[in-house]
Structures are given as structure tokens and as C-alpha cells.
């Protein structure tokens, strides 16, 4: 079984916000993408508000923002956002009925685990987003999965409600395990290493996941982040270095890459 990346309709489309929800520190935007194709888990879209895109901090944003698809249902695409700067700030201001420019789905997403391996989903913060749609797809395929999520504190940990029944770690110990999500991951792999690890989160967490999986010989698929101008291969701005010494464009060759292609998942200039 493989999952194929959906190809994007040509050009950006004007879409209406049909719902807006809050999960503690995170906001969820639901867009009425009636004619868009079904995204592959791990794919992303470029979003920009149609009105007032610009005029925030430092008179930004100017470029559209990359957002992982959180969940897809017929005619609707969901996104999970954290307010980290002028782009996410403006998108989180949008109300039902407001319009956004949407381009996508874009990039290469996750692949299902090979026969017999269980799936471990390991996420941090807003990196929860692509794991939710992945969990949906694994469930539909009848594949067993466990989810481990790490958050800063209790308001952020409310993002855990976006997945089925995840185990949670918080930096301040206010919810779940007091410590890092990678400690939960190590314990899972100690119990049963016959797994594939799927991960998305801040670069230091992703790098820790990569190192843990490499040390144990466990395959891992990492959803990377990188500063993007276009999202469709036009600008060459989003590159990360690979193990073979070349650069790949995260937007067209990723965002999901096999961990063994990387020497490090620490990406310069990305993440918060």
C-alpha cells in the first residue's frame, strides 16, 4: 500500500472560512474547499487572507504562509495554527465568512507503515496538525497506531484533543508526563521497536526523534518546516541539506522526508 500525493489545482483559489474553533493556545480554521482534491496526510497548503494581508508587525505579512492540513472531510480542509507572528496572527483573526487565498494541496506526505509494523505518531506543539490527518488515514486503513504529543504547558496541551487518545507530555508537568515527548518515544520503542515513527514538531524535537530512531534502526518519516516564499518549487528558498551533500526543496521534495536522508533535522531559520 502506498499513498499518493494529490496534485494541486492550477492557481490559488478564493475560499471562505466556514468554521473557527479554539483549543487552548491554538486556533483551528475550517475552510469550505468544495472543489479541492483530497490531500495526502502530511501535505500542506499556502494560505493568505484576501483582505488586509500586510500591515501587521513590521508591515508584514507579505508572502502566503505554509500550513499543514490538520484534517480533511469532503469539501472541507481544517488547519491548526499557533500565533507566532504577523501571518498566523492575521489568519487567526479571520471569522466565519471571511475569505482566504488557498493553494494546494502541496508537497509529499506520509507513507503507510510497511506490513506488520505499528505506527508511532510523535508530535510537538503545532506539529500535532499533520499527525491528526495521519491518524485518521491509519484508522481508515485498519493500521494500529499510538500517538505521543509534547506541549509547553496546559493551554497548549489542549491541542491534544485534536487526536484520538494521545499520551501527553508537558515541559512544566501541568498535564501528563512531566518532561519531553521523546522520553515517551524511547519508552515505546523499548517496549516494542517493530514500528515506524511519524514525527512533526519544532526542529530540536524533530532532531531528537531522528537521533533516537537512527540509534535504534527504526524507520522514521519526518515532516519538516522551512521558511517558504512560494510552496511550489519556484523560489528555491526552502532548502534543507541532505546526507548526500545536496539540498532538497522542502516544498516539492518534502515536507515529509525519510529520516535516513538527513544528517540533522535542525533547519536554519525555521520554526519558533
Amino acid at each position: 500500500m502506498t499513498w499518493t500525493a494529490a496534485s494541486a489545482p492550477l492557481g490559488r483559489r478564493r475560499i471562505t472560512v466556514s468554521d473557527r474553533r479554539t483549543y487552548g493556545a491554538y486556533g483551528v480554521l475550517v475552510l469550505a474547499d468544495t472543489n479541492g482534491p483530497d490531500p495526502q496526510p502530511g501535505q500542506f497548503y499556502m494560505l493568505a487572507a484576501v483582505e488586509r494581508w500586510g500591515g501587521g508587525a513590521d508591515e508584514r505579512p507579505f508572502l502566503p504562509r505554509a500550513l499543514s492540513v490538520l484534517r480533511a472531510e469532503p469539501g472541507r480542509a481544517h488547519f491548526m495554527l499557533e500565533d507566532v507572528g504577523p501571518g498566523t496572527d492575521r489568519l487567526l483573526e479571520l471569522a466565519v465568512g471571511d475569505d482566504v487565498w488557498l493553494l494546494g494541496p502541496l508537497g509529499q506526505g506520509f507513507q503507510p507503515p510497511e506490513e506488520g509494523r505499528r505506527a508511532i505518531l510523535c508530535g510537538g506543539g503545532v506539529g500535532t496538525a499533520p499527525l491528526a490527518i495521519l491518524e485518521d488515514a491509519l484508522r481508515a486503513a485498519g493500521t494500529a497506531s499510538v500517538a505521543l504529543l509534547g506541549f509547553r504547558d496546559a493551554p497548549h496541551a489542549q491541542g491534544a484533543a485534536l487526536l484520538g487518545d494521545p499520551r501527553v507530555a508537558t515541559d512544566d508537568g501541568s498535564v501528563g508526563h512531566h518532561g519531553r515527548v521523546t522520553e515517551l518515544l524511547s519508552a515505546e520503542l523499548d517496549a516494542d521497536p517493530h514500528a515506524v515513527v511519524y514525527s512533526c514538531g519544532p526542529p530540536p524535537m524533530l532532531e531528537a526523534v531522528r537521533a533516537i530512531c537512527e540509534a535504534r534502526g527504526v524507520p522514521a518519516q519526518l515532516a519538516l518546516e522551512s521558511g517558504m516564499a512560494c510552496g511550489f518549487g519556484a523560489c528555491y528558498g526552502c532548502v534543507v541539506p541532505t546526507r548526500d551533500g545536496s539540498y532538497i526543496r522542502v516544498c516539492v521534495d518534502g515536507p515529509v522526508v525519510d529520516a535516513d536522508r538527513l544528517d540533522t533535522a535542525l533547519v536554519a531559520g525555521a520554526g519558533h
Binding site: S7, A8, P9, L10, G11, R12, A48, G54, D58, E59, R60, P61, F62, L63, P64, W101, L103, L106, S226, G227, M228, A229, C230, F232, G233, A234, C235, Y236, G237, C238, V239, V240, P241, S246, Y247, R249, V252, V267, A268, G269, A270
Partner: protein, 290 residues
């Protein structure tokens, strides 16, 4: 859509092409499928800058967003001449529009080799020479100095009969003098502006650059009025056609560049926000003035 235009003997369906390095037709076809060919946004396709040897480009981060634009330090990654001709040209030749190949070299001999190889390929309609590059022997930016540019063109011009467009750098004291030198040395057209040299400060290390390449080049609507002034200054001094670019986002912006003296326009950064910007701008340009 009306607005067909002759540019250096190339019959273009409309006056909007892409700016070099801001649209990868091969990647875009992978992303959007064959719909891209049926609805290609530009009336000619300009390649990213090709150098003799392959280049990896600059370390990330490569882009920094600013008010009304961005600063890039991409660093001209490309497969090199041989890789381009073997891997990219066959796919690009299938595009429904004429191909313009942008080349750059740091010494005249390199540029001569590039131009001769490109000249030999019938699929390529015209050559754009990126001269925003320091001469490794003299340290001078070739395109910043009229005499440097004249020397380069003396070596290069005789090697091709294809239209030769010189892409001028805005990072010079008097762009019109450089344009005059280009015309006098046999250029068929000039294009401007390339990006304006710019610096983005690191968020936590005082004085250090944000961008992996150190300094970068600014583009987008923030540079549009600088571009208009430079296009007008060049248009007053040369008779060869001008490709006007810099921050063009809509039909009115394109019209202003044409009114300043450009023959056609190129769209760069706006395509990052709207992949079909070229087509939209051509349509807006063809609409009657209001």
C-alpha cells in the same frame, strides 16, 4: 486576450514574461500537472541563471520577508550548463512559449562558452545575460561598470545571432550609462531591475546576518518605484527594447512600467503569492484603461 507584441523578433502573445529565478516550470508542472501547459501564465519562459559548473546555492535561511517584499540569498543554485542542456531543456522545449535562457559567468571566457552552447540549441529563442556578478579577476561587478560590460560584450556578442538581452543590476551609480554601453556593444535589449542589495539583521546575534548567504537582494512591490525610475532613466538613453521588472503585481503596475519606456514586463516575486500572476496581469493590462 489582445496585446500580442514583437520583442526582438519573438512573437509574444502578450507582454508579460517571468523574471529569471522566480518560476520553475518543471517543478510547477510536477505540482500542477499538464494544466500548467494548457494555461501557461507567461508569454515566454526565462530560465533561472545557468552557470558553467553546477552550483549548490547558499546555505539556508535563504529568504527574509520585509514590508512589501522579500530579501533573498538563494545563491544561483543550478545544474550547470551540461546538466541544464541534458535534463531541463528537453522538458522546457515542450512549453507552449518561446524559451529565454539566462546565463552568468565570472570571466568572459566562461560567458563565451555558455553563450556558444546555448546558441547551438534551436529550442532556445533568446539569451539573457545576468551581469550582476563580480568579475573574479578585477573584483568589479561586471554590470556595475560600463567599461567592464563593454569588454565582456565585445567577447560574447560575436558568438551568437540569437537576441541577446543584458540584465542590468540596479546596484550601480548610473544604470543608464551601463545601458548605453550595452547598446553600443551590440545588446539587442536590456532588462531591469535585478534585486537591490539588502541586509536582514539576525534576530538574536547583533550585527550578524539573518540570511545564510550574508547579504541578499530585495524584490517585490517595495522596490517598484526604484524600478520605474531606473527604467525611465534607461529609456531616455537607449533605443533598444527594455524588459521592465521590479515589484509588478497587477495590470496598473505593468502599465506604469510600459509607460516608463519598457517594451514588455517581467513578473517575479508576485508569482510566489499567485502562481498565475503573469496571466492575471496580462489580462488586466489588456482591459481598457479606466
Amino acid at each position: 486576450m489582445s496585446g500580442a507584441v514583437d520583442f526582438c523578433g519573438l512573437a509574444l502573445e502578450h507582454p508579460v514574461i517571468n523574471a529569471s529565478g522566480t518560476f520553475d516550470a518543471i517543478a510547477a508542472q510536477r505540482v500542477f500537472g499538464d494544466a500548467l501547459l494548457a494555461d501557461f501564465p507567461f508569454s515566454a519562459f526565462v530560465s533561472k541563471t545557468i552557470t558553467l559548473e553546477p552550483r549548490a546555492g547558499n546555505p539556508p535561511p535563504r529568504i527574509y520577508e520585509v514590508a512589501g517584499g522579500m530579501i533573498n540569498s538563494i545563491g544561483l543554485p543550478n545544474r550547470g550548463l551540461a546538466g541544464y542542456l541534458e535534463h531541463d531543456l528537453p522538458s522546457l522545449a515542450a512549453l507552449p512559449v518561446p524559451l529565454i535562457v539566462n546565463v552568468m559567468g565570472s570571466v568572459a571566457d566562461e560567458v563565451v562558452q555558455l553563450v556558444e552552447a546555448v546558441d547551438a540549441r534551436a529550442e532556445i529563442a533568446a539569451i539573457e545575460l545576468n551581469v550582476s556578478c563580480p568579475n573574479v579577476k578585477t573584483g568589479l561587478d561586471i554590470g556595475a561598470d560600463p567599461d567592464e560590460l563593454a569588454r565582456l560584450l565585445a567577447a560574447v556578442r560575436p558568438r551568437t545571432r540569437k537576441p541577446l538581452i543584458v540584465k542590468l543590476t540596479p546596484n550601480t551609480a548610473d544604470v543608464a550609462r551601463v545601458a548605453v554601453a550595452a547598446e553600443a556593444s551590440g545588446a539587442d535589449a536590456v532588462s531591469l531591475i535585478n534585486t537591490l542589495r539588502a541586509f536582514a539583521a539576525h534576530s538574536t546575534r547583533p550585527g550578524a546576518p539573518w540570511l545564510g548567504g550574508g547579504t541578499g537582494g530585495q524584490s517585490g512591490p517595495a522596490v517598484r518605484h526604484v524600478a520605474l525610475a531606473q527604467i525611465a532613466a534607461v529609456a531616455r538613453r537607449v533605443t533598444i527594447p527594455i524588459v521592465g521588472m521590479g515589484g509588478i503585481q497587477n495590470g496598473r503596475h505593468a502599465r506604469e512600467a510600459l509607460d516608463a519606456g519598457a517594451c514588455i514586463v517581467a513578473v517575479g516575486t508576485e508569482s510566489f503569492r499567485d502562481p498565475l500572476a503573469g496571466q492575471r496581469i496580462a489580462r488586466e493590462l489588456a482591459a481598457p484603461r479606466v
